[in-house]
Symmetry: C2
Subunit: 429 residues, 2 copies
Amino acid sequence: MNRVLVSQLMKHINEEVKISGWVHRIRKLGKIAFLLLRDRSGIVQCIVNTKEVDIKGIKLESVVNIFGNVVENSKCKLGVEIQLSSLEIISEVKEDLPIEVNKEEMEASLDAVLNNRVLSLRNIKINSTFRIQAVIAQAFGEFLKNEGFTQIFSSKIVSEGTEGGTELFKIKYFDREAYLAQSPQFYKQMMVSAGYERVFEIGHVYRAEKHDTKRHINEYVSLDLEMGFIEDEREIMELETSLLKYIFESVKRNCSKELESLNVKMPEIKDGIPTMKLSEAIDILKKKYNKIGLEKDLDPEGEALICEYVKEKYNSEFVFLTHYPQEKRPMYTMPAENGETHSFDLLFRGLEITTGGQRIHNYDMLKESMIKHGVNPKSFEGYLIAFKYGMPPHGGLAIGLERITAMLLGLENIREATLTPRDKNRLAP
Amino acid sequence: MNRVLVSQLMKHINEEVKISGWVHRIRKLGKIAFLLLRDRSGIVQCIVNTKEVDIKGIKLESVVNIFGNVVENSKCKLGVEIQLSSLEIISEVKEDLPIEVNKEEMEASLDAVLNNRVLSLRNIKINSTFRIQAVIAQAFGEFLKNEGFTQIFSSKIVSEGTEGGTELFKIKYFDREAYLAQSPQFYKQMMVSAGYERVFEIGHVYRAEKHDTKRHINEYVSLDLEMGFIEDEREIMELETSLLKYIFESVKRNCSKELESLNVKMPEIKDGIPTMKLSEAIDILKKKYNKIGLEKDLDPEGEALICEYVKEKYNSEFVFLTHYPQEKRPMYTMPAENGETHSFDLLFRGLEITTGGQRIHNYDMLKESMIKHGVNPKSFEGYLIAFKYGMPPHGGLAIGLERITAMLLGLENIREATLTPRDKNRLAP
C-alpha cells in the first residue's frame, strides 16, 4: 500500500490509506485516544483505542505507519481525521526526549535548541525557518538566472585572503598552508572578466572573528552576485530592490503555512527603497537621537535607530546607506569624490544584510588602491592579472542568508537561522 | 544610450545601437576591417575602417563600446552585422595575451589553461562548459524541489569525519582542531530525522587524497540528496533515473548553443537504466575481457570496460552496479544478505558519477556496524543521537558535479570541468 501524505488526505475521503510519520502528541480520553501524526506535509488527528496506545507503549516522536479510514471532520483544521485500523512502529524512541518538541513555542534555551538540533528542528516553528530559508536561496538563484546570470562554484580553499591577511582560518594543505575563503569576491570579479559578465554564487564563507555576538557566526552562507557593464553602484542597488521583491513574493507563494506558523509580517517594497548617504545618517543620529561618537560607520545601535527613523519617516523597513568612506571599504571599492566610495550597505529591520558597490576595474588604479590600503600587490597577483586583459566596469553585492532569514522571521539570534552554527564555542553538531 | 546584447540585435535592424564587449578578432581587408565583438550572449561582426583600428591601436580582448547601425546580412550566422559609427575603448589590454583565446580549439596545455583561467574561460568552448554546469546544478535543485525536497546548507567545518579519520584536511579552529567535511552525509541523514524527510544540498566537499589523477580533485561540488520512508535502495535508483532525465532535458532546453559549440552528443535514457550486481560485472569482465585481479570493486579500466559492454548489449550509456560488499562500503550502509549491501554506484560513459544506497536507520544496528568497521561510536555521538528518537528508513546518493559535467561534455580531465581546481600541486588561481 502506498503512503499518502497528510496534505493529500482530503483527496482520499472515505478511503483506507497508509500514512507515515512521527507521533506528535497523544491525548487520552477514557477508552478513546487522539494521536496526532506529523509528516513533512502536516499534522493529522487519528482516533485510536487507548488500549492500543498502552499495549504498544507508543512514545512521542516514534516513527510509525498508520492504516486507517479518512473521514471528514469540519472541526479539524485539516478538514479530515483518520479512524485508525492498525498501527506499526517503524522506529522506536530509545530514551526520554531531552527537549519537548510538540509545543507551539520551544521552551528551551538557545544552547539546548542547538545541542539537540535534530529534535528541535521537529518543532513546527523551528522547522519552518529552514523551509523558508531554502526558498530565499532558491529565489535568489531563479531571479538572477532570469536576468542572465551564470551560477558559479568557486574554490573555498585559497592561498590569499580577500580583504587582507586577518581573520582567516588556516588549513594544512598537504605540505603548504592555505586559508578558508572569506568571500568569493575575487572569483566573482574574475568571472565577470572571463566573459560571463554576470555571475552569482550561493556558498559558504568563513570568518575567523573571535567576537561572539548574536549577529555573527564564523561560517555562513553568502548570496553573492557580480555584474559587468554598469554605470555605477546605483544599478546594483536597483537590481537588489527587484531581487528582494522577487524573493519575498516567492516566499509568500511557497511558504504560506510556514509564514503563518511563525506569524511573520512580510515587508513591503512599494516605491523602491529609501537611500541616504552614510554621513547624513550619522547626522540624523546625532541630531535626532543624540547619538555621538559615530565616525565613518554605524554601530549596531546606530543601525537599529536609523531603521526606526526610516520606518517612521518613509514607512520603509529597508534603507540603503551609501558613500562609505574609503578607509572603511576594501581596496577594490571604486573611489568617489571627497574620500567617499561608490558603495552601499542595505539595512533591514535594524540590521545590515548587504554590502555592495562598484569595484575598481582599472589595473593601475587597483594596484594603487592596494598600496594605499596597506596591501602588497605581490600577494594578489592571481587576482590582479584579471585586470590586465580587458575588464569591464562592474559591481556587485553579498547578502548574508542567515541574516536576511533572521530579520524576515523576527529571530533574535542569527544562530536560530543557521542549521548547524559555528562559533568560537560551537563546533557540533 | 542603453546597451543592446548581441543576441538581441535581430530586433533592432536598421537602428543605431550601442553594443559592448570584448574584441574577439580583427581581420583587415585593405581599407575595410572586420571586427568581431563578443559579449555574454554571442559574437557579432562589425564593419570598420582599418584606419580607425590602427589609430586607436585596438588590441584583441580589449573591452569596448561600439555604436553603429544594425544591417541585415544573411551570410552572417547571426543574420545581422554592425556598420560601425564609433568605437570607445573602456578597458585596454596592457600586455600581450599569454594564450590565444579566439580559436575554436584552445591550443594550450591544461596547465596553461588553468594558470590563465580568466583568459582561457573566454574561449567559447571552455566558457560553454561552465554555463552547462550551472544548468546541471540548477536542474538538480529544481527537480528535487518539485519532489518535495528541502535544500539545506550544512556546516563544512566539522569535528569528526564522515567515513573515518583518514583523508581529511585539518583546520586550526580557534584553540581547537577541526576538519573540512568530506561529505554532508551525516547532516543529510540528521535532517531526514529532523522531519524534513527529503533534503538536498549543493555544496563543496573536501578530500585530502594525495593521488593526482584525471578523475580526482581535492575540492569538489557534491550534489547530495537523502530521502526518508523508502522501501530500499531501488527507490533511490528510480529517483536518480528520473532526475537525470530531467537534468538532461533542462540542459538541452537551456544550452543549445553551448552544446553545439562543444559538439556534445546528449545521452538518452529510454526504458530506465540497466542494473547489474557488482559480482556479475566482475564475472563479465573476467570472462569477456579476460580482466583478472578484480576483487569486490572495479578499477578505472574495469569501469570503462563494463560501460562498453553495457553500451553494446543494452544500448545504454549508463549502468547501475549494485550489491557492493560490506567491507567496501561505509559503516552507515544497510547490509543485505551474503555480506552484500543495499547500495549502488552509477557509471556513465566509463566513470562512476554516483554512489548511493539505503542507510541503516536502527540505532543498535548502526552502532554495531561502526564497531565492525573499526570506528569508535564515541567519536560519532552527535550523529548517533539522531537515531535514538525515531528515524525513518532512508537512503540517498551523491553525484559529483564536475564528474557528470566532464562525462556529459566528453572532457578528458575532471579539472576541465572545475572552475578553479584544487589538487596537491594547485592552489591558485
